[in-house]
Symmetry: D3
Subunit: 143 residues, 6 copies
Amino acid sequence: MKTVYITRRETFNAAHKLWNDNWTDEKNEEVFGRCSNHNWHGHNFTLYVTVKGAPHPDTGFVINLKDLSEIIKDEIIEQLDHKNLNLDVPFLKGVLASTENVIIAIWDRLREPVSKAGGELVKLKLVETENNYVEYYGGREPF
Amino acid sequence: MKTVYITRRETFNAAHKLWNDNWTDEKNEEVFGRCSNHNWHGHNFTLYVTVKGAPHPDTGFVINLKDLSEIIKDEIIEQLDHKNLNLDVPFLKGVLASTENVIIAIWDRLREPVSKAGGELVKLKLVETENNYVEYYGGREPF
Amino acid sequence: MKTVYITRRETFNAAHKLWNDNWTDEKNEEVFGRCSNHNWHGHNFTLYVTVKGAPHPDTGFVINLKDLSEIIKDEIIEQLDHKNLNLDVPFLKGVLASTENVIIAIWDRLREPVSKAGGELVKLKLVETENNYVEYYGGREPF
Amino acid sequence: MKTVYITRRETFNAAHKLWNDNWTDEKNEEVFGRCSNHNWHGHNFTLYVTVKGAPHPDTGFVINLKDLSEIIKDEIIEQLDHKNLNLDVPFLKGVLASTENVIIAIWDRLREPVSKAGGELVKLKLVETENNYVEYYGGREPF
Amino acid sequence: MKTVYITRRETFNAAHKLWNDNWTDEKNEEVFGRCSNHNWHGHNFTLYVTVKGAPHPDTGFVINLKDLSEIIKDEIIEQLDHKNLNLDVPFLKGVLASTENVIIAIWDRLREPVSKAGGELVKLKLVETENNYVEYYGGREPF
Amino acid sequence: MKTVYITRRETFNAAHKLWNDNWTDEKNEEVFGRCSNHNWHGHNFTLYVTVKGAPHPDTGFVINLKDLSEIIKDEIIEQLDHKNLNLDVPFLKGVLASTENVIIAIWDRLREPVSKAGGELVKLKLVETENNYVEYYGGREPF
């Protein structure tokens, strides 16, 4: 089967801080450094969503990118854009807002709607700055 | 064995439209939206070609990038650059010109010449816009 | 006065060809090369629109970027995106579709609506490929 | 005189919101939209600092970029990086934190130290997202 | 287990040439072309270092990026930045300085320190120009 | 007159060092830091060449970009690409190879051939790394 991987990019701008409620201020600053700033800091996040499948003979599409884009916007961008990841996002309640934890939460929220739209979610990439990003394959380890 | 993956980037600018000849105009517009515009639209496509192998002891090369670049230019860029993907390209005749279908056709055209030059083609990436791209591993599914 | 320059970026994907109707096919190919391909080619165009002014004391804005973005989308993107610049665009009728001529036509169409929204249009930049772009200051020559 | 313009890029990640204290919540949301979110949002800001002058015969330098980088880091990055622009920055106290107002405040803070280091500050560029940026020439209007 | 892949980017600028001491000048130029220039040439290299693991419950971190960045700077950037890869780098002595060979040498130098810091190095990417890069998975072949 | 500014991008990879022959090694290292490394370092340089003029009625061109590209390749890229800026380039003999001095030398070499091809050279931009670049207007000071 001629499996193709297709990726859609979306962006959101958000505030967050790295903070462990069980720790003192000093411990938080020691571990998280400037990222623990009480009054928050923020980023332009870029999210890449990858779906795999064989192109449909009628459309040449693995999935209609318009549908995929709408799912990402409804489920993720609408929830995270111009928000505070620690305070404003129901599906991140209680989650320490590291990029690692955020990408797992995004996966858990996207997998089913993408599946209902006929796609198989296989990879996410979340870019926080030009110097760091995380990738998630639903827990699988291709390498 | 110390297998390294090496990638060469090339670009081409082309026109295309998404269109299924078996469908009415209305159906085409319903499914493909603005991409079905009768009079075409176009993109700056970027193609990444990845070859794997162990570096040769005499050259430190998996493959000579000059050779790889020439193959890509002869087989792909010369055929697609400043062309209409639906009308002008013999090896895309009868192919619905979605990026998914185009990347498969590029693979089928590149695999053998790359192999003859001593390289093993393992991945293609074709970027259509800053918001979407496709990847192809010859049908294999690494994840 | 503390004049600040603010720029909004928008993108559109379009087909075009470089073609002079008064010339033979040979002459067109001689001058325009691959850009004269009968069946068109295309690009991902990026448009930067710059407005200058003093930030308003109540908003800190030279112009509300939401308003500026809407003007650009209504007047330009809606007209050019997924279109053929030679065939589909009323305000480019009879214009040889070089990037130089297109940027002048965009200026003529944007200047008044931007002015009505309280902004002074001072510069456009239109990127055709990673290797070439044009800039236009309404005919003025700052350097 | 062979005047050359030299530019140094630095980055900072910060939280902010657009908010006018004299307005109701409704008015703030109406004008600033999502940017007025109570709990802040944030960006990866990129700052370009341009200095002009003739290259010194002994060094070929308009200004030593190491010196320029240190000034920018001491005066700006140290103050803004991983901070809340509305709450944490003494030199932005009372300033509505639009990019327009922030770039003016950065200019006022950088001009003198750059001058003391033998450079003439002539332009700043502050990029907030891939879709918008501001430029400031100290109030001058080159075009 | 919720394995996440995290990547840190660092850069270095270096000179090198492609040269096989066992060959004549003519043979070197025939195989390596302009890259064999006696007096060297150079690049802005970009290195991406990927580590995988489950986010720690206390920090949300696969690995503290500050630690990872320090390891990369100590072991690699400090050794390669503003250096001649053929002449100045002890751990590249006797290595033909192709990007393929350099990425393998970087892996061999990074694997243990990253492991001691609690991370599992799984991928390197080394970008030499906008048109070519290599990737290395420690010899493993995920595809 | 509807003056448009058109820019062509070209790239070259070169080695250099910052070094003043009249100074001791210590003085060179004190002023130029790592850039004074005896055995050179290098960069991927990106050169932007801007020409202004009114679009010609027959072609819509300020200048034919194919011609401009050929001039830049003949006069500059062929001379600098995969070269040592301190040792290999006749027109840089005796020039301290700072980016400031290099951009002036490129201007002096390009101005006349561009003029003969019917264009007016008005600006150069030379990018050395993602963090620094220089611009030159032939000595003029637009701001």
